[in-house]
């Protein structure tokens, strides 16, 4: 099954490469120059469009009165046929384009007036609106299905299943658990997902009587993490076991934070390290240091650039969507699981749409491809 699939993928790749490598043909002179308010913006620009154009840079000239004087406001590649000029809303503007063809200079006839106005809908984002409505609809539908008692199958995620095991290991060894919630602020969705997992981990440590430490880089994340851990200990019926030094603030500097946490890992040798949230270059420093201390490591991030580092250095890695599914998976609450099911169905719809779009593209049409372009 895998081999024919690889051949198909190779054939598709070669076809797309041949399409990309075909040299485009451009007309030389600029024709049909027109200017209009940019549709779907906040009244900050007007758009110039034309056909043809040289394969070189052209100069965009603007004036506030018919007949000039025109002044240079920018330049663009002539064959692009498009230029967006950022202007003041409510003022009428006139345009001309000057360009060179060989040794000869050309100047188009002036066009305008065009006035930038605030619009009430970004028409070019209608695709995103449809997909957002579809996602909302699916989530509501599957949540209601879950409420009615429908059995929803969710595949087993090894990294999430290992969380309780990792807490148990630390308890048995009498060592602490280090939970690193990434380095981003609470405004990042990955940090929120991380705090949801932290809530579960802290509850487990409270039940088992294990020690947990949560070092933070962002002050907002620090305050939220402290409340999360405190609340988890209260819910577990062990508020007396919560200590203020369980959740600490380190520094706002990325590498100073990495140095401090690495130092803690080496000195205190936690039995388990959780690295869950948004990470940048410090991901490998932290994960590799944790690996060298022999700790069991569970990582989770949706940052594709950091995933390879976690996969090579951690025992389990929650990749992308698994990170967001973790809190629902851990709680096993039907309502939360319903939204995971909706996510899976949305993914299936996207896969089918992309596959159909690919077939359509083979036959020379690009309706689906154009629909999926985001702006």
């Amino acid at each position: 099954m895998k081999r024919p699939l690889l051949f198909v993928l190779a054939a598709v790749s070669l076809f797309l490469a041949s399409q990309i490598l075909s040299p485009p043909v451009f007309a030389q002179e600029i024709q049909g120059l027109r200017v209009h308010d940019t549709p779907g913006d906040g009244g900050e620009s007007v758009t110039l469009e034309w056909e043809g154009g040289p394969s070189a840079f052209v100069t965009i000239m603007r004036s506030e009165s018919r007949g000039g004087p025109f002044e240079e406001v920018g330049s663009t590649f002539g064959a692009d046929g498009l230029y967006q000029d950022y202007v003041e809303a409510g003022i009428a503007y006139y345009y001309q384009i000057s360009y060179q063809l060989g040794d000869e200079g050309y100047l188009t006839a002036q066009v305008g007036p065009a006035v930038a106005r605030s619009n009430w809908f970004r028409s070019y984002r209608v695709n995103a609106l449809i997909l957002a409505c579809l996602m909302f609809g699916l989530v509501i539908f599957y949540i209601n299905a879950a409420k009615r008692g429908k059995d929803l199958y969710i595949r087993r995620i090894a990294g999430i299943s290992a969380i309780d095991e990792a807490v148990g290991r630390a308890t048995e060894m009498g060592k602490k658990i280090m939970y690193i919630p990434g380095i981003m602020s609470i405004s990042d969705i990955q940090t929120i997902a991380s705090l949801s997992i932290l809530s579960h981990v802290a509850k487990q440590t409270a039940i088992y009587g294990a020690d947990i430490e949560v070092p933070n880089k962002d002050p907002l994340t620090y305050t939220a993490a402290r409340e999360t851990v405190k609340q988890a200990y209260m819910e577990a019926g062990r508020p007396d076991q919560f200590r203020e030094d369980m959740v600490t603030y380190i520094t706002y500097d990325q590498f100073a934070y990495a140095a401090a946490v690495s130092g803690k890992m080496v000195r205190e040798r936690p039995a388990t390290n959780f690295l869950i949230g948004y990470f940048f270059a410090e991901s490998l420093i932290l994960a590799e240091t944790g690996q060298s201390t022999g700790a069991i490591q569970i990582a989770g991030t949706a940052a594709p650039t950091q995933l390879p580092f976690f996969v090579t250095t951690c025992d389990y890695t929650l990749m992308g969507e698994e990170l967001y599914a973790a809190s629902a998976y851990l709680s096993r609450e039907p309502i939360l699981l319903g939204s995971i099911k909706a996510q899976d169905i949305a993914k299936a719809i996207i896969i089918i749409t992309v596959a159909v779009g690919l077939v359509e593209y083979f036959f020379g049409s690009s309706v689906i491809k154009d629909f999926l372009v985001s702006r």
Partner: protein, 209 residues
């Protein structure tokens, strides 16, 4: 009430940027920009809380003579000295502050960043051990990509290594990355809907009322 107000705020403030994403009118985007600025102000209020925690944690370590207490002295002195010069002369102006930043903070940051090269080498060694078919494919792909990024690769293969390396990066690698990104985007959307509708509450400290 302790739950209702945060959930109502989350619903309104969570839904507004989605609305502003589709409505570009200046009146709508102005309020959206204001919300972004408000976040910075809230973060500024949280920073002193963090600083107090740093001071309390380290003074407590000093009092108890806990393991590694001398490091706490260095940290507290560094914090006090940098804060002093920063407050009296500004962070980018005072010569003493600038001297400490250029000659102490900056080299330390660079040192930590430089450590990455060694960590990449040790992580790559573990990842590239050809234990099974997948690891072997990874090893071969990695060798091609690495050779494609240096002149030596093209020299020994007559210029074939760079295009091959580019093909690996822009076709199979990009395809896998896009798969992960699409999955992650859907996951983020699903989680955002759960938070906006108040179904997901664990970030507030509890999943229950």
């Amino acid at each position: 009430m302790r739950r209702t107000i945060p959930l109502a705020l989350t619903f309104i403030i969570g839904l507004y940027p989605i609305f502003a994403f589709f409505v570009p009118h200046a009146r709508i985007t102005y309020a959206n920009d204001w919300l972004d600025e408000a976040l910075v102000i809230v973060a500024a209020f949280a920073l002193p809380l963090g600083t107090v925690n740093v001071i309390m944690t380290n003074t407590s370590k000093l009092k108890k003579k806990a393991k590694g207490w001398p490091y706490s002295i260095v940290l507290l002195c560094g914090l006090a000295i940098m804060a002093f010069y920063g407050l009296i002369g500004g962070t980018g102006v005072h010569p003493s502050f600038q001297w400490m930043f250029v000659n102490m903070v900056s080299p330390l940051q660079a040192t930590m960043f430089a450590l990455l090269s060694f960590y990449v080498a040790s992580a790559a060694y573990r990842a590239f051990r050809a234990r099974n078919i997948e690891a072997t494919i990874l090893l071969i792909a990695a060798i091609i990509v690495m050779l494609g990024r240096i002149p030596f690769g093209d020299m020994v293969t007559g210029g074939r290594m760079t295009p091959l390396s580019e093909w690996i990066m822009s076709i199979p690698n990009a395809a896998a990355q896009r798969g992960i990104i699409i999955g992650a985007a859907l996951g983020a959307a699903s989680m955002s809907i759960r938070i906006i509708l108040g179904i997901e509450r664990t970030y507030l400290g509890t999943g229950k009322d």
